[in-house]
Structure formats: structure tokens, C-alpha cells
């Protein structure tokens, strides 16, 4: 019988059906960070349990880590305490810990793939909703809560029900200046922030075939913003090429056998899905969110909705979002002034994102009064960017160049919006208060669009910058 990748991976990792009807699912790779894990380790200690598979468990610090002064102890004593906890827990329980001294520290969803830990056919769990990122490699990767982290640490397993499957096929081709970020924002806009609840999204079609691994990660990363806990792309030659030679990848002859197995895990051509959605890639343009959830999004050339055209709950949601964002009903999103620009996060903090943003940054200077930050997703990304001189380009243009971490994606470290500042951001969430100020406002877009907004001081269509540098709008300081 033909099967989807989801079914193949699920079946292979099923230990048994629990009396509750859920699956006891073996987790092949467990990634841990400092924010959601301390309570889980404490629960283990309370019950006198150990970590069952420490060799399948890896930890890093990303959320609270400062991206400027990293001298220990951290100036923020709470951040220091959280760091000490994960360091100590990893040591006590025999879990490998990637702190800055290893040169491998970074956002958990950036370093997993980068180190070759993330591979096709695996089940992966992490106490973080963006764990879906790892699905870009053809793994089934789920975000879990702290009690479930405890479960995976103690047993190697999760109690979980298998999601339904939806294939999202994006055919045609993307036009220049349109990125993976625009594709996923378009999908969320079309299917809604709740459209994926209960589903695993399988992304495919011509656009995904031609995407790089990093672009696939950007899309899978934001599956959860569309409600889907799992998102994946079937593995192909690009997947194998990406993994080859990485630290935790199979070596030599083992690698070829791995490729055979990985290839066998793909969805069968005639597999059945619970739902299929088709999207024409050539219809997608640069996208910008205007509201307080990622589904409140328009094309950069479009206008904001007007609550007067809507009824009931939709009307109330739009009214609430416009009021919070201090934006006008029916206004164009283009030309919306910004105050802060943030390039980074597990969605768009990888080397290809920084390259695209740097290309734009090279065409001008950050507009007067705009605070612009570039925060690489990992130490390795930072190193690579510096080897290519991207940091010089950013600095010359007026961007701050930082150390690796989550930073202003959720502002648990010192990088925060102030008051009702409005931020063009390459991150994944525009929730109220997300970037560290309860009244702070977020406009999500691709890294190139963020860079363009930083130069112009307002939201602009990055495609309009594909002009000689002299024509770039922007205040030359």
C-alpha cells in the first residue's frame, strides 16, 4: 500500500498504541534549549529518573543569550541563572551542550541542520513550536511542552496522536524579489492561522523542488503559524548534498546506504492525503503582515482590510488588530513608516538570508533614526558571513552586527522594542508584545524586504530597488 512520508516515519517509530488511543512514538532526536527545559529536568529529579537516551539528546542556549556583551556572568542575573541551569543539567544528565565556547552555539533550529543532526526519516522533538523547521529534511518534527520534554527525556518517547495529512503544492515559479518567506506568508494568509490544526503539511511542487534547503526550512519553520504542528518536504538530492560532510552526518560508505534509506522514506507517488491544496507560485508577491497574527497579511502592493466590509468575529479581529497596530483601515501597507529593522531568527537567520539582505543593504544607508540589527542564527552562520565580508557591508550601511541568538524575535534578552515602536522583522510572529514591549508593533516580511525598509525608512517593495544604487530612496546619513 502506498504511504506518505508521515505514515512511513510514524509506523517505523511506533512503540505501541497507548490505552488512551494515542501512539507511543519513539523520538530519534531531542533538541533542548534553556527556556522550556529547566522545569522538565527538575521533574526528572523529583521522580528520580534519568535521561534514557542522552546520546540522542542535544542542548544549546539561544533565547536568553545576549547578542552583544557575552562576558560571564551575564549582566542580567536571571539569564545567567537560566544559563547555569542548562549547563548543569546537561552535565549531570550526560547531554551534549553546545555553548559559545564550542563554536557551535546558535538557535536550536539553525544548529540542528547545520551540524547534520537533522536527517530524513527521523522523528524530532524540541520544546519549541518552530521545531517544524526540521521537516525541511523529510523528518517528522514536533514542538512540545515542558511536561512532554520530561516524557521524552525520561522515556525517549512521546504520547501523541498522528496528525492528518495535507499536501500543499506550489507550482509555477516565483518572480525575482519573491522569497520563501513570502510563500509561507501567502499560504498562511490563504489557509488561515488555524487552517492547519490537526494536520501535518507536506510541501511540494515545482517551487519547493527548486528551493534550497534553507528556503525549505523557512517555509517549514512557519507551519505552526498556520496551525500545523508538523510541516515537511520530501527529501531529494539537495537534501543529501546539504547533509554530506556535516559533523553528525553518516560518513563514507555509510552515507550512500543512508541515501538509499532516506530515498525510501519519501511519500509514494500515489499516496493518499486527507487534503490537497494547490497554489500558483507565480501569483505570489512580496508579503507584509499588518496585524497581530501572521495570517493578517497582504501583498506589498495591497491595501489593509476595512472592518466596514466584514461581519461578526472577522470584523472584531480586524478592528482589534488595526487599533493595536495604529494603522488605518483601507490604507496601503507600502510607505508605512518603520522605526526598527530586525534581520535574524530561526525563520530567516541563515547565511542565504543574510546574503540577500546584504545585497540590498549594499545599495544604500539605513535611513536616519532607524535602528537596524542583524543577528545571525548561529555562530557558524556568523563566521561564514564574516568570511564573506557581509558584516562589513551591513556595518557600512548602518546596521548593527551581533552575536548569534534569538534576540528580538521574542526579546527575552536585552534586544527589545521600546514603547510602541514599529519594527520590520524577518522573524515569525507579530503577536502583541512579542518583541519585548507590550505595545510594540511588528511587520513580518522577508529579510530582503526588511533591509529595503531599513534603507527607505518605510515599507517598500524590494523589487523597486532592483535599480542602480543611485535611485535607491533612503536618507544618506
Amino acid at each position: 500500500m502506498s504511504k506518505t512520508l508521515l505514515e512511513k516515519v510514524w509506523d517505523l517509530h511506533t512503540v505501541r498504541e497507548l490505552p488512551s488511543g494515542q501512539t507511543q512514538l519513539f523520538i530519534g532526536l531531542h533538541l533542548v534549549h534553556e527556556v522550556t527545559s529547566p522545569q522538565a529536568f527538575m521533574m526528572l529529579k523529583e521522580r528520580d529518573l534519568s535521561v534514557r537516551y542522552p546520546g540522542r539528546t542535544f542542548a544549546t542556549v539561544d533565547h536568553i543569550i545576549p547578542t552583544q556583551d557575552r562576558g560571564r556572568p551575564f549582566a542580567d542575573s536571571m539569564a545567567e541563572q537560566m544559563f547555569v541551569h542548562i549547563e548543569r543539567n546537561a552535565g549531570e544528565f550526560g547531554v551534549e551542550f553546545f555553548d559559545e565556547s564550542t563554536g557551535r552555539q546558535g538557535i536550536v533550529h539553525v544548529i540542528g541542520p547545520e551540524l547534520g543532526l537533522t536527517q530524513p526519516g527521523m522523528t524530532i522533538a524540541c520544546g519549541d513550536s518552530h521545531t517544524s523547521t526540521h521537516g525541511a529534511f523529510g523528518s517528522v518534527a514536533v514542538g512540545i511542552g515542558t511536561s512532554q520534554i520530561r516524557d521524552v527525556l525520561a522515556s525517549g518517547c512521546l504520547a501523541i496522536a498522528r496528525p492528518k495529512s495535507r499536501r500543499i503544492e506550489v507550482d509555477g515559479s516565483l518572480s525575482a524579489g519573491v522569497y520563501a518567506k513570502d510563500v509561507i506568508l501567502h499560504i498562511i494568509g490563504a489557509l488561515g492561522v488555524q487552517g492547519g490544526v490537526g494536520y501535518a503539511y507536506e510541501y511540494g511542487g515545482r517551487v519547493f523542488d527548486s528551493f534550497s534547503m534553507e528556503e525549505r526550512m523557512t517555509v517549514c519553520n512557519m507551519s505552526i503559524e498556520g496551525g500545523a504542528r508538523v510541516g515537511y518536504v520530501n527529501p531529494d538530492q539537495k537534501t543529501y548534498d546539504y547533509i554530506r560532510g556535516r559533523e553528525y552526518a553518516p560518513e563514507d560508505g555509510e552515507f550512500d546506504r543512508a541515501v538509499d534509506w532516506w530515498s525510501s522514506m519519501k511519500s509514494d507517488a500515489d499516496a493518499d492525503y486527507d487534503s490537497v491544496v494547490k497554489i500558483d507560485g507565480s501569483s505570489i508577491g512580496p508579503m507584509v503582515t499588518w496585524g497581530i497574527n501572521p495570517g493578517q497579511v497582504v501583498g506589498v502592493g495591497e491595501k489593509l482590510p476595512d472592518p466596514a466590509d466584514l461581519d461578526g468575529a472577522d470584523r472584531a479581529s480586524v478592528e482589534e488588530a488595526l487599533a493595536f497596530m495604529k494603522l488605518e483601515a483601507g490604507a496601503a501597507i507600502a510607505e508605512t513608516p518603520i522605526e526598527v529593522a530586525f534581520i535574524g531568527s530561526c525563520t530567516n537567520g541563515r547565511i542565504s538570508d543574510l546574503r540577500e539582505a546584504a545585497k540590498v543593504a549594499a545599495t544604500g544607508k539605513v535611513a536616519k533614526g532607524i535602528r537596524a540589527l542583524v543577528v545571525p542564527g548561529s555562530q557558524r552562520v556568523r563566521e561564514q558571513a564574516e568570511a564573506e565580508g557581509l558584516h562589513e557591508t551591513f556595518r557600512a550601511s548602518g546596521f548593527e552586527w551581533r552575536e548569534a541568538g534569538c534576540s528580538m524575535c521574542l526579546a527575552m534578552n536585552p534586544d527589545k522594542l521600546v514603547g510602541d515602536q514599529i519594527c520590520a522583522s524577518s522573524s515569525n510572529r507579530n503577536f502583541k508584545g512579542r518583541q519585548g514591549s507590550p505595545t510594540g508593533r511588528t511587520l513580518l516580511m522577508s529579510p530582503a524586504m526588511v533591509a529595503a525598509a531599513a534603507l527607505a525608512g518605510v515599507v517598500v517593495d524590494v523589487r523597486s530597488l532592483n535599480q542602480p544604487a543611485a535611485q535607491v530612496p533612503g536618507d544618506l546619513i
Binding site: H13, S20, Q81, G127, I144, I160, G198, W261, A313, S317
Partner: protein, 202 residues
């Protein structure tokens, strides 16, 4: 041990919180994740929304003090996987949530903590909210055994996955005991996986 963990019904007064897509960043802002325990989260539930509402948020309304049930609208608990969100609500005193729909990770986290999430149709969620706003002392019962929400005058079936209902009424909603019960079986799955045991060709 499981007998005292059985959850067959939650009865009490209600706090209505209106709005769609209330994400976990709003339920508990990220600054309260800067901690190594869940202690003390309760009072910070909805903190920024409450501040923005200038004291008129239902969680600040003395008429709803002591509520055990929370009634919400669509896609409650979206966004971040932080268990801090249901932990905060639990520590506030919430034992069951009735709403039109819930985000998946939030729903799962609630289940693991023994918080019942009951799904009712859109207009029923808002009509319960209106009824409570008119009569804040009103009691509601979420009866898990027969999946029914009851007020003094009405009965309304709610939707709950059978596995979840089963877990609550048998007291097995906290999966840890089941998951650590069969280490040998788990080990054999572990050993059988090509990416752990080897990709073959030996």
C-alpha cells in the same frame, strides 16, 4: 495512583475572555519565561492585555474571582509551545476551558496538566460568555463522562477527542507512567532504526 487523578467533571463559576486567536504570548508574556520554575506565574496571566485594558479585563474583574472555568472563542492558545501558558492559568485557578477551538500544542499541554478543553460551536461559546456577563455568579459544569456542558437551565454537548476523554476519566492524562513502563520495547525500536543502529550493508 491513577484513581485520584480521575477527572470526570469540573464545576464552578466562570470567567469569560472574549477574542479570537489569543496567543500564548498574550496568556503569559515572554518576560515571565525568564525563570527556572513555573511557580508564581498565576498572577501574571494575561498581564499585558490586562494593563492595556486599564483594569477592565475579566481577569481583573472582582465578579469573576475564584472562577474555575474559562470561556473563550476561536483558536485559543495559538503560537508558542510554552507550557507556561496553561501553567499560569492553572495557577490562577482555571481547571477547564470552554471555547470554539484551541491551538494544537496548547490543547496537548492542557491535557498533560489535567486541564479540560471543551469545544463548543461558535455561537454557544459567545452565548455562555453573555450569560456569565449578565450573571457572574452563574455556575457551569463541564462533565467529561458524557461530554456535556451544563448550566442550571441548559445542557450542551461538547466535542473532545475520545482518547483525551478516556485519559481524563481513567486518570491517565499524565502519560509519563505509561511511557516509562516498557523500556525494553522502546529499546528495540531504538535499535531497529537505521539512523541509530546503522544503515545496513554489514
Amino acid at each position: 495512583m491513577t484513581s485520584d487523578m480521575r477527572i470526570t467533571s469540573v464545576t464552578g463559576t466562570v470567567v469569560p475572555v472574549r477574542g479570537n486567536d489569543i496567543d500564548t504570548d498574550r496568556i503569559i508574556p515572554a518576560r515571565y519565561l525568564r525563570a527556572v520554575t513555573f511557580d508564581g506565574l498565576g498572577p501574571h496571566s494575561f498581564e499585558d492585555d490586562r494593563k492595556a485594558a486599564g483594569g477592565s479585563h475579566p481577569f481583573d474583574d472582582p465578579r469573576y474571582t475564584g472562577a474555575k472555568l474559562l470561556v473563550v472563542n476561536r483558536n485559543f492558545g495559538s503560537g508558542s509551545s510554552r507550557e507556561h501558558a496553561p501553567q499560569a492559568l492553572l495557577r490562577w485557578g482555571i481547571e477547564a476551558i470552554v471555547g470554539e477551538s484551541f491551538a494544537e500544542i496548547f490543547f496537548g499541554n492542557c491535557y498533560t496538566l489535567g486541564i479540560v478543553c471543551a469545544v463548543v460551536p461558535e455561537k454557544e461559546a459567545s452565548s455562555i460568555q453573555s450569560a456569565v456577563e449578565a450573571d457572574p455568579g452563574m455556575e457551569l459544569a463541564v462533565d467529561v463522562d458524557d461530554s456535556t456542558v451544563r448550566t442550571e437551565t441548559r445542557e450542551l454537548p461538547f466535542i473532545i477527542p475520545e482518547a483525551v476523554r478516556e485519559g481524563f476519566i481513567t486518570g491517565k492524562w499524565d502519560a509519563i507512567a505509561e511511557l516509562v513502563a516498557n523500556p525494553a520495547e522502546v529499546r528495540s525500536i531504538h535499535d531497529s532504526l537505521p539512523y541509530i543502529g546503522g544503515f545496513g550493508g554489514d
